[in-house]
């Protein structure tokens, strides 16, 4: 099993006719994801890799009965796409787009919360539930851009604020035979949809996940909140890596949310909070394998 996405996921891709949208739709289909439709205003009626394109999410919903949207549109249109998906009745939105203004995200998040829509991202690689090759092709499900070649099915849940750093950890785990239930990137922005606690709760309840890896970084206090939750409510073992021990204060390290402002945003404060509740924190990403085996 897995969290959030599986073989019952019926996916809409917002921005399917764009270069990225097309490329990743092909990869997702090849991995076994049920991509049922795409949305690009003005391009309704076209087809992308055998997937029908619609002008609006409303029309796409009527035609396909989708239950998940992936947003892969330029930053200036991303808020609109999220509102559109939510208004069409989509219960789960995965937003990959990087560079959405923070004040837009404040309003988007408030609106989605009001409608009870779950958001993952923005500025994230999405999710992957590893599958196996079978007679009908791959049996995995991915919504996003995590390379299918580096994952393997198993029982470790991965949750991260980063992209390639997550691939690094997944790759190390896979090379040592530790498979994953679901790998989820929650995004590197200051305002995101699902946070560490939301995902930890899902992994805790998932019968097919028996241990969890957290990959955090400088900025905000989400890791500290996660530590409090772990100490109170998690029975499964958790290991972590926190990036940015050498990051100077006050400078934004690539991700919009990765900036040390005040004492709680430092890697040290996060590591201390996690270790205080018994979470093993790796000194370098490859060491996660030893801590979680």
């Amino acid at each position: 099993m897995s969290i959030l996405i599986d073989q019952n996921t019926r996916l809409l891709v917002h921005g399917i006719t764009g270069r990225q949208g097309m490329f990743h739709t092909e990869k997702m289909l090849a991995y076994g994801t049920n991509v049922v439709g795409g949305i690009t205003p003005g391009k309704g009626g076209q087809w992308v890799h055998g997937v029908p394109v619609f002008n609006t999410a409303q029309k796409a919903m009527e035609a396909t009965g989708a239950n998940c949207s992936m947003i892969s549109v330029p930053a200036r249109f991303a808020a609109d796409s999220m509102y559109e998906a939510a208004d069409a009745g989509i219960p789960l939105i995965i937003c990959l787009t990087e560079g959405i203004p923070v004040q837009d995200m404040i309003e988007v998040r408030a609106y989605l919360d009001r409608l009870g829509v779950r958001l993952v991202g923005p500025n994230c690689p999405g999710l992957i539930t590893p599958g196996k090759p079978g007679r009908a092709g791959m049996s995995g499900t991915k919504v996003g851009i995590t390379p299918g070649s580096i994952v393997m099915p198993g029982r470790a849940g991965i949750v991260s604020r980063s992209g390639t750093l997550t691939y690094e950890v997944i790759y190390a785990l896979t090379s040592r035979g530790i498979g994953q239930s679901t790998c989820i990137g929650i995004g590197g922005d200051p305002i995101i949809g699902s946070n560490f606690i939301d995902v930890l709760r899902m992994f805790e309840e998932d019968p097919e996940t028996d241990r969890v890896v957290i990959i955090g970084e400088i900025g905000g206090n989400d890791e500290q909140l996660a530590a409090a939750y772990i100490s109170k409510s998690m029975t499964k073992p958790v290991a972590a890596f926190i990036a940015g021990r050498t990051a100077p204060p006050g400078r934004r390290m690539g991700h919009a949310g990765a900036i040390v402002e005040g004492a709680s945003g430092t890697a040290e404060a996060k590591i201390e909070a996690l270790e205080a509740v018994g979470v093993k924190v790796a000194d370098h990403p490859e060491q996660i394998v030893e801590l979680i085996s």
Binding site: V102, I106, S162, Y167, G244, G254, H284
Partner: protein
Amino acid sequence: MNLHEYQAKWLFAQHGVPIPKGKVATTGSQARSIARELGGRVVVKSQVLTGGRGKAGGVKLANDPDEAESIANQILGLDIKGYTVRKVLVDEAANIRDEIYLAILIDRSRRLPMMMASAAGGMDIEQVAAETPEKIFRIHIDPMIGLRSYQSTYVASGMDLPPKLWREFHIITTGLFDAFRAVDASLAEINPLVVTGENGLLAVDGKLSIDDNALFRHPELAEMRDVDEETESEREARQYGLSYIQLDGNIGCMVNGAGLAMATMDVIKLYGGEPANFLDIGGGATTESVTAALRIILADAKVKAVLFNIFGGIVRGDEVANGIVEALKQIGSDIPMVVRLLGTNAEEGLQILADANMATATTLTEAAQKAVALA
């Protein structure tokens, strides 16, 4: 993007916040004529994008136009924390009775804008927060209903501001919030907001940070960027869409992905080295972006070794390897380099690099240890 004090105050004033009369000068004689125009005492303030200007001698009072000119001449050209002063703001000197701290920023955990205020104005707010947290008032603002009058009153009364100033205080807080919204700020700060001897309120200093991701809808603000305040490398990195931050160490690093870039710096440090920079080349590692990134890294004379750490997911390892080899051909350098490639087509990529006589590594640990040994 951070704006200068004079730009921030000007934008605040557009939304009804009272600011001192003043103008910007780039020469002493301009400062003299502004001071003459204003009449009376003026304050000459260096305009650089860093804090601690006062302590560095970059803010001074002048009693008359002659003194304004000589002080401006002293301050112009001054080096403040690595920034050269090219402009001064000449403001009417305020008659200061009390100083208030007032700011609007984003509270990440509550996911809302938050107003922060303290009667201990003029001081570093972090210091106030650490020493006397009870003196800081925090109000969350729901964008749906905006900043309400009762919220301003709660803060004003809490700070013991005289009741006859409460209405004016609310005009200033709502003006500041309007400015914050209008320019997509991540921080709008007035420190200090002065209670004057004439019983008015005046925003004597201002700070405004704009969300870079929102600049596409504010072309007029993007033009306010002071390119003189950027280093050559920062400017080039911005043009190529690279995320680059220079540090003090001697091992240059080029990585795809911000989290992995930070982790790479951390691992260098773990094995006894010091990273020279943070550099994320972003999603696609093309020959062009690799070449620009390498040029930027090597422009730092402290760099004694370079570590490439590329996770080929969507990007293919052999393409990246060709990009690196091509970049080196164009730039030419004796600095030792270690390349670590992982993921899609990594083996083909490593072969290409080995053929070009470059040091390669498979694990991050191995790569970092090699780079530290070479530096």
